[in-house]
Amino acid sequence: MTAHDSGLRLPGTIPLAASTSYRQINEDILRTLDTPAPAYFASLGLLLAVLGFGVYAFTQQWQTGLGVAGYEHPIAWSIYITNFVFWVGIAHSGTLISAVLYLFRAKWRTSVARAAEAMTVFAVMTAGLFPIIHIGRPWFFYWLIPYPNERQLWVNFRSPLIWDLFAIVTYLTVSVMFLYLGLIPDNAAARDRCTDWRKPVYRVLALGWRGSTRQWMHYAALYGLFAALATPLVVSVHSVVSWDFAVSILPGWHSTIFAPYFVAGAIFSGLAMVITLLIPLRKLLRLEKYITIRHFENLAKLIIVTSLIVGYAYVTEFFIAWYSGSTFEQGTFFDRAFGQYWPFTWLMIVCNVFVPLLLFWKKVRTNLAWLFGISILVNIGMWLERFVIIVASLSHDFDPANWTGIYQPTWVEGAITAGSFGLFFLLFLLFVKNFPAVSVTDMKEGSAHAEMVDDSLARCLTGHGFLDRFYELFLGSSDEVAPTFTDTDVAGQKKMLEDSLSLMTSVSKAPREELDDLDRVAHRHGRDDLVIRPELYDLWRESLLQTVREFDAHFDWDIERAWRNVLADGVECTQSQR
């Protein structure tokens, strides 16, 4: 802390010219596209081998027929459909991060959004293969599409499978456009930096982007619209997938909670996959500055929420089965917990309900090794959930004579499943090595926000009475605030505002290496010489914004967003001290 003079000190503790920080960000992120390490090629080779094995297995199935898969009456849907639901689910968290969190102005999303969006696209692509792999004559998959044909037949729009087609095609198209929109300015940055053979590729993919102000305005407008469109879309997609099951009359499937249950599960599994991907990614690309522990911690918190919803849905399913009074329904759920498939059911419950509870401990959710382990277990648990719902329910249909058989997957199904993981990771790996895995644009915009706040504050301080007005609002905002300051004089108040502002903005402006250690920053600024209690920061922030609104002649929505973004970092890090 420096000495306090009579005037209010500007919070620009680390003055960093926009140009310098832009160049730093540009270099840090785009250097990840340079010649990769041997480990990258080794992983690429391994994934190609796994994918090749899957493709080989599929050619076997293509030539021989579905007999090589382990289908046995009444189990006509099994691992392929499990994979389909699993991969569609994985996609959902990407849209949650890129669209829903954008609408909620959660600033931390910017570091992980690009990777999550890419994951969404590749997961939907992988998922889309499985209905085709699953059908008996895959070469006729296009019969699903309604088009005028010589047979004069149309698809049955009352069938959930057709809804699925529309939902998945829409989801894939919108996700690809969303990802690509964000990539246009980044491709331009890569085009202007790149010197190797990829330069013409970036030139084409950047579409001739120049970054003119008008282009940026249209870009921002469309980004917001995409977020607004993708949010209801993501809810609808897994709802529609769940109706593939819920619209039938099979016990264990025919349930009204399926849509919200599937959506929550989808986001849950997807968040786990984001963590699984990001932990090696930040290491491989040396992006520790940009993807910090704080981002993982926030993802972990979202996992807790969705895990609790999923756990609640499990309990509800069993409760409704009992409460329905339907013998078949009760039989199916008894069988699920204690029948042939009981190990899968209980493993699923442990992985999805109990293991994520560990994340309630801060020590666990800020430890990457633990997080990685938990995310893998959640992935396994969510795959098993779909397996249990599909196979265990089908095996226990209305005909008791069918109940004795047990489904046994064949090597073909196993190989194709492994191949799908190979394909997904391969696409993701190729993407992050050829396109910026962290949005250059978002990072630069974030650094521009700190400057906007500085400018705005400078404008506020040119007028008189900023401090008085702030205290008037802050003290009046709650009964709890006033007692904190009963024995504080004007100088003390000034110091409080200075210290708080300095804490808030320093978090945004600090060299990014320090961000990993937010606790230390918060500790140094906040806890020892505690100026305001962390729980009062919400009131503090709103009072401050109100004052700025009144004093800054240029105040508008963008400036408010910049203030909120800059303050969010600080508020969050202080509150996490509780």
């Binding site: 832009y22 729009f157 829409t170 085009r191 202007d192 970054g211 102000t213 469309l222 993708a230």
Partner: protein, 168 residues
């Protein structure tokens, strides 16, 4: 008299903003700014209007909604086939198709609008450019009569340009 294009490069956004404001004060209308990231000050100086991209999205969305109902309704009359004892026009399932197509067409409409308004894809290389405008520098481009080129150039340089490129 022909037209001249002048591109000035700045290393500080504030300098570039001052140059834009100065050019505006000279009565120049064709002023563009190039920034590596969205820049609020520039948007206030140059932009002004709300982007019409949203109009494209709205039209796309409405079109999608209409076709999402029209397609199933047309097909069930083209070949009437009762399944499951349900009416030919079963509104609840058709709502799902309409919902998805609303979003699909809305997003496509928005994308088309964005590309058209932003002048993308641009097939010709710009006459003036600087590779660091997407990296860390800020550009201000003025198009004016050749007669005014000297004074514009002086203005842009006076605002602190580190480099000025011009043609004509």
């Amino acid at each position: 008299m022909g037209t001249a294009h002048i591109l000035a490069i700045y290393d500080e956004p504030a300098k570039a903003a001052a140059a834009v404001a100065g050019a505006r004060n000279m009565g120049l209308t064709d002023v563009s700014a190039y920034t590596p990231a969205p820049d609020h000050t520039m948007e206030q100086l140059i932009g002004g209007h709300v982007s019409p991209v949203r109009l494209f999205t709205l039209i796309g969305g409405l079109l999608g909604c209409a076709s999402g109902f029209a397609l199933p309704i047309y097909t069930v009359y083209d070949w009437p086939l009762i399944t499951g004892g349900k009416p030919l026009i079963s509104i609840p399932p058709f709502v799902i198709i309409a919902f998805e197509l609303t979003i699909l067409f809305g997003a496509i409409g928005g994308m088309i609008g964005f590309l058209a308004l932003a002048g993308l894809p641009r097939l010709t290389r710009p006459a003036l450019g600087h590779p660091r405008l997407t990296n860390d520098l800020f550009g201000v481009e003025v198009t004016c009569d050749t007669g005014r080129a000297t004074s514009v150039r002086a203005l842009l340089e006076g605002a602190g340009a580190i480099e000025v490129r011009a043609d004509g």
